[in-house]
Point group: C2
Chain length 143, copies 2
DNA sequence: TTAATATTTGACGTTGACGTCAATGTCATT
DNA sequence: AATGACATTGACGTCAACGTCAAATATTAA
């Protein structure tokens, strides 16, 4: 199968608002779904998955919507690389493009690692706070 | 010692703009520093450290400034717990308060862990993309 | 087929987190 | 005491990322 979903259902499944979903389509972030005869948007599961992925990336990496678009175009470039593009253009140029993609990915991976390190710092701080609080309670119990 | 810094210096050391620094003070996030006779703000190193900590928490956890305030009030509560507060109010109430603090901290720690897991998901995704790109290059080399 | 309910488009509103500008005052140096 | 570089306050501006509302259709259930 592959049920057709209306926007309200998609909103429920993704946790995004209907406005947001339309907005993402308007920005070109979300591929336009089919329409019914009357013009109602009809989504498939792939749209739901897509929305979940990108909203995760946005939240987690703190991406703006613009950065999200750039991020997505990377994936696209790789897709296009695999298909028709493969036999069309200059192989030298293709390799250059791939190398550039890898560079960008390396950059983003580094940002992620930095982010993880910083999260751990904050995490440690919070754990310390908790320990202090617990110690205080203990102290009160033994008096 | 403990040099007195003017706002421009603080901005340089923290990477925040002067506007942002004043804004944080206005919101009550950053403790007001001393002033010179003429009214110029004079910061100490503790202000710099403080700003670094909170901007890290903001970036990393995606805290809004309001959440940041709540987060900071937690630390304050723990501080007050250790000092005068200790002998003033009802010990029963104090324990209740501490327990609540711990609860909140647990909540935030859980959020952090969730966030870390999600980051890893995105990280994995990016690594996969990179592998694909590398494989494509290899393919082109062997043809 | 007629409600009741949901969807679409367009447009304007909102909010957070600052940026920017102007007028005025301060600091450091000469 | 004058000059040039920075600081302060207040106010308005801005930008992203939606929220909200209205008027016109569409869809679904009875």
């Amino acid at each position: 199968m592959d049920e057709l979903l209306k926007i309200d259902e998609v909103a429920n499944q993704t946790g995004l608002s209907k406005r947001t979903i339309r907005y993402y389509e308007e920005l070109g972030i979300l591929p336009s779904p089919e329409r019914s005869g009357g013009g109602t948007r009809l989504y498939k599961q792939k749209h739901v998955k897509f929305l979940k992925r990108i909203s995760a990336a946005k939240e987690v990496l703190g991406f703006t919507l613009q950065e999200l678009q750039e991020f997505l175009s990377l994936t696209e470039m790789l897709e296009s690389q695999k298909e028709e593009y493969k036999k069309v253009s200059d192989p030298q140029e293709q390799k250059a493009k791939l190398t550039e993609i890898i560079k960008i990915l390396d950059g983003e991976l580094e940002i992620i690692e930095q982010k993880i390190r910083r999260i751990h710092t904050v995490q440690t701080e919070l754990v310390t706070l908790r320990e202090r609080a617990r110690a205080l309670i203990e102290l009160k119990n033994n008096e």
